[in-house]
Symmetry: C2
Subunit: 200 residues, 2 copies
């Protein structure tokens, strides 16, 4: 565009490919970097290069890591008797953020989606089977998304869990702060079915 | 955070400093890069480095550029008799995007804001005076923001325009598609005052 420069146009074009960033915000970010946060540009460039080179997948749980094992698998303080299966590192981080879970994880890096051509091969199930065979495991929690694909993936993967282990699914129900009046029927139906004893 | 990696944390921390990007979207962008758009990471790193090194200010109009003159000042096809004064490169690009203007620009790179300690020294007025003294100039259009600071800046800078030149301000009025019922009083008052002959 007239008034722009080739380097500026290039940054804007690349930023636009990131999630949640449209043409206006791409331009706003690029100009903010150039005019007000110029010292951030080499820092961000270096961080992107380093992450690109360093980040790979944990050999045990498939989460992102920079060494052979991720920070959770290499921690001595996690409960190895419980394994929580999630679709993505973002889901793992969300559960860690809740501070409600002390067990370990396995990250599928996706979900079954036959329409998109995503089959069981994409879910790193050979690695999962190795983890499921480790001694001491007692419970496998499925924390896949509550979507058609997430439910189907949980059903499919659950069949791989060896006999004798407890298999659970994270609770479906009304979200904290949720008002019944505005909830969809299926969430509400699930919440009634899954009712638990009132905590006193 | 447990489950994350140092390189990932670093990218998220830097992205959060960009405008319009909160902690959730910073993490979403970083994971999207790492898991789905990995090829974009070195490209973005290179683009940031190149822009950081190459982009400077036009010696004539103070807009962003990569050579001595910006793409508008070095173009042979702009009307050099009209000069439009804007606060920022973003404002210049917005006017270019409207395709309604064929003249040249001067970019102040800010506005007067005594409370923030921004005085006339910040507005590159020596460069502006050189441009105003160029032969052939007939009109100076003030296109600073319609804010207190933008209006005060236009008033202040207008005093520098040599006698004999036409000095104008871009129209204030109701925006295209705007409904009178929802407009603020001062915009509506300005629109009535600034009424023009009905186009037939």
């Amino acid at each position: 565009m007239a008034g722009s420069t080739p380097s500026l146009d290039k940054i804007v074009a690349l930023l636009r490919r990131l999630p949640g960033i449209g043409p206006r915000s791409a331009q706003r970010i690029a100009l903010d970097l150039l005019l007000r946060k110029r010292e951030l540009m080499p820092q961000l460039a270096l961080a992107l290069q380093q992450a690109h080179q360093a980040i790979r997948h944990c050999e045990r749980c498939n989460n992102l890591c920079e060494d052979a094992l991720c920070s959770i698998c290499s921690s001595g303080r996690r409960d190895r008797t419980i394994l929580c299966i999630v679709e993505s590192p973002a889901d793992l981080l969300a559960i860690e953020d809740s501070a409600a879970y002390q067990g370990e994880y396995f990250v599928l890096m996706g979900h079954l989606s036959p329409l998109d051509g995503i089959g069981p091969d994409a879910l790193h199930l050979d690695l999962l089977e190795k983890r499921l065979a480790e001694e001491g495991l007692q419970e496998v929690i499925f924390a896949t998304n509550s979507t058609l694909e997430g439910e189907a993936t949980a059903q499919f993967v659950a069949a791989l869990v060896p006999e004798g282990l407890r298999v659970t699914r994270i609770a479906r129900g009304i979200p904290m702060g949720g008002e019944l009046e505005y909830l969809d029927r299926s969430t509400l139906g699930r919440a009634v079915q899954g009712r638990a004893a009132l905590e006193s």
